[in-house]
Amino acid sequence: MNTIAAMTRRIIPAVATRGRIIAMLLIGAAGIAIGVVLRRADATTTDMTEFAALFGLTIFVPLVALVISTASLGSLVEDKTLVYFWLRPLGRWQISTASLLAGLAVLLPLILVPMGILGIVTGDTDALQGILAGSLVGLVAYTSVFTMLGLFTQRALAWGLLYVLLWEGLVAGFSRSAGWLAIRTYTDGALSRVGGSAGSIVDPPQGATILIVTGAIVVTSFVVTTWRLNTMTVD
Amino acid sequence: MGVGRAGSGSDPGKPSWVSQDWSGTVVLVNTATTERTSSPSAVISAVAVSKSWGSHQVFSDVTADVLPGVTGLLGSNGAGKTTLLGMLLALHAPDSGTLSVLGADPATAGPELRMHIGYAPEHHNLPNDVAAQDLVRHIALVHGLPKREATTRSSDALWLVGLGEERARPVGTMSTGQRQRVKLAQAIAHGPKLILLDEPTDGLDPVQRDDMLALIRRIGTDFGIHVLLSSHLLEEVERIADNVVILSNGTVRASGRIDDLRTGQGGMTAILDSGVELVAASLQRSGYEVAVERNKVSVGTTEPLEQLADALRDAIAENGAPLRRMEPVKQTLEDLFLDEVYGS
């Protein structure tokens, strides 16, 4: 459907502004620099993977996804340009699809490249695959949730940070039951399932569970976003 | 123009009304005594001013005077109106040529000059949680009014713009109309000699706009403050401005008193509810060339209007045509603007 393609091509530049790209790449470069320094100080592979998991999956992936995805629909609402997509003879699900695709199109290179380099720096191919798997799961899940969040509140960035730092950082770490609701459990799970036992969570969820939950997150976010588009007041 | 204490010995280059010792007080005297190159009564005069932003030339060799009273600054979008206001406030200097505002050169006397100029910007945003009274008082203090004077005059200014009761309310709780009045109050509170208004009626509905225009007219006449008003709505400028400066792609197409600029083609027009052809025919019989457009009769003449007026009246009376509107042909400001800028 070229309508979806046209909208996606329009959202990408609105989302990937120069300032955001540079800031995210800087953070990625810093993580890699630390990885290199740790490597030169001949830290063990498990240490390196642990650092990659800590830096990558708890800071870098969610933060980058947050900054980019909240803007895909959020910037349209804030700039009051959503009307040029919304008041058209097309189903609103096409707008949700376009915003998700735009987010993924920007985030895939922006996340997987630095994380791949970090994985290589650990020097262990299993760790590399684990890191990439974890990042991919994180990328897909966070993108769909934060794209939806961008439509609900103007302060999506603040709420997103709160979720990542408080909920995922603290709460999910302590209580096992809360863990099931935190995306980090599944990104870490994917890391340890694919990358051997380097994951930081004691018994990570089964591979199948990870895929099912991630899929469920994407679908529910998509449905809620479309419902919201249909019922919201557009400026 | 009020007369203050005569300035003590001041720098010869600067007009006598401004003594320059920063730490001490700055004294203002009647500006009439100073010598100036252009017409003595000009509030602002530009001589061969050029200015460009990078490659975009905004002004090329502009020479114009802004006369006392209310002056309309007209120009199509991008003609440099906002840039001109910035130069008058000495926020950016012209690339070449000299500019004189209230007798002083903005390039050298910038800060003292801004002390005597009020500025109401085009945008509507003002600090929402600050009370109108505090905002106006703060701006008056910043323009050099002593503390007690600032308090009394800011309250006066708010009463004069019609915001008496609401002056203690935060600006955020005010309507667009009220916010425009607060902007006007902060521009006049500190007793400026000249105020620059950028699209003051933007966003107002017809009723609010009427009040604002009447207020601006009063400021330019009763309050004795010169007003330079940048606007797109020519009907408004025509209603309240004495003079006009018309800018178009870098040059001044016309400047001076509106009435002097109007080209008065002789002739009269009449709008009739019916019997237009009959009236036209009887006028032609008495030797006038007549143009008819729907229900409007236009009659041109070279000799004075008196005979034509009588002939028109008689033609209408004899044919019993109901007269809705009759007036001498007068170039409206819009026609003047369109002629000057587009020569259409």
Partner: protein, 350 residues
């Protein structure tokens, strides 16, 4: 031009005794206490494009629009009203951007918020200036074409850009455009799919005189071409030039609709005020007073008279003859309150 039969005129009341030289600012136009006529069902014209019935909207307990009903066909309608009267809320509900709290909006019989096909027949020029800044004009307008499912969006985009006098080959981004040019880009994107209902929210603000002239001519020609155009605006002089029907909304209610001259004529509790400049004001004044229908008369100076008359038609018919008889030269006859601005002010209570 508009063949929608105007709603039944308000049953004419017995004109109250002429108010003693009522100045326009004294009393709001309050419908006189008419005998309670049964509410007539609104007749629906066959070519009705837009039907609004009992539309209301409130934000919390603030009522923005209360119980407005009207129907519009092809032609231009100017939506007028003071700030905060519910004008742009009404326009946004017509476009389907905002959901009504009560009542229905039907465009070609369908609800624009729900029916995706009818949205293809609506074009909107929003008030806000923001567009996709980095895009070129041709890209932005072509995007609207694609989203409307046009076969040749870029070709059609070139056409509409030329209609609004913008250069399709211009490679500069929209962010570098002036306010007037941006306004025209917005109009182009609203015209690309040949909408049958076109909504313009304050299209004239920020335009300089020449651009305003062109925009008015464009709107007028669209109306004559059979598009149902609804324009909300504050620039009454331009709206008057549109020569369109007007709809005035005050305090969230529909105050009046129709041709503004006819609305003025309906205000029979307001005498017509006319300024007459002549060679001898006092003589003319004396003679006029002997005639009938003069409610009030003010001598401004030796030449100017301000006349308040209840019977404007007779006054117009006789003024020339009266002046001729009294051998007074007529220099100017200016009606002061039958322009749109005065009608607006009388309706809105000032």
């Amino acid at each position: 031009m508009t063949n929608v039969p105007p709603p039944p005129p308000i049953p004419s009341q017995v004109p109250p005794p002429p108010a003693p030289h009522a100045s326009p600012t004294s009393s709001a136009y309050v419908a006189q206490p008419a005998p309670p006529a049964p509410p007539l069902p609104r007749q629906r014209a066959d070519n009705e494009v837009l039907a609004v019935t009992n539309l209301s909207k409130w934000f919390g307990d603030v009522v923005a629009v209360s119980d407005i009903s009207f129907g519009l066909g092809p032609g231009v309608t100017a939506l007028l009203g003071p700030n905060g009267a519910g004008k742009s809320t009404t326009l946004r509900m017509i476009a389907g951007l905002a959901a009504p709290s009560q009542g229905t909006v039907e465009v070609f019989g369908a609800d624009p918020r729900k029916d995706k096909d009818v949205r293809g027949r609506i074009g909107i020029v929003p008030q806000q200036e923001s567009l996709f800044q980095e895009q070129r004009a041709i890209e932005f307008v072509a995007l609207a074409g694609v989203l409307n499912g046009l076969m040749d969006p870029t070709g059609r985009a070139r056409e509409v850009l030329e209609i609004v006098e913008l250069d399709p080959a211009d490679t500069r981004p929209i962010s570098s455009y002036s306010k007037g040019m941006r306004q025209r880009v917005k109009v182009a994107q609203a015209l690309i799919h040949k909408p049958e209902l076109l909504l313009l929210d304050e299209p004239l603000t920020g335009l300089d005189p020449r651009q305003r002239l062109h925009m008015t001519q464009l709107i007028r020609s669209l109306g004559e071409a059979g598009v149902c155009v609804v324009v909300s605006s504050h620039v009454l002089d331009e709206v008057e030039r549109l020569g369109s029907r007007v709809m005035v909304i005050a305090q969230g209610r529909l105050a009046a609709q129709g041709d503004f001259h006819e609305i003025r004529a309906l205000m029979d509790d307001r005498p017509h005020r006319i300024r007459v400049r002549s060679s001898n004001a006092r003589t003319l004044g004396g003679v006029l007073l002997t005639g009938s229908g003069i409610a009030g008369l003010t001598v401004v100076d030796g030449e100017s008279l301000i006349v308040d008359t209840d019977d404007a038609a007779t006054f117009r018919g006789t003024i020339a003859a009266v002046a001729q008889a009294a051998d007074v030269r007529l220099l100017e006859v200016q009606p002061l309150d039958d322009d749109l601005e005065s009608v607006f002010k009388y309706l809105v209570g000032r």
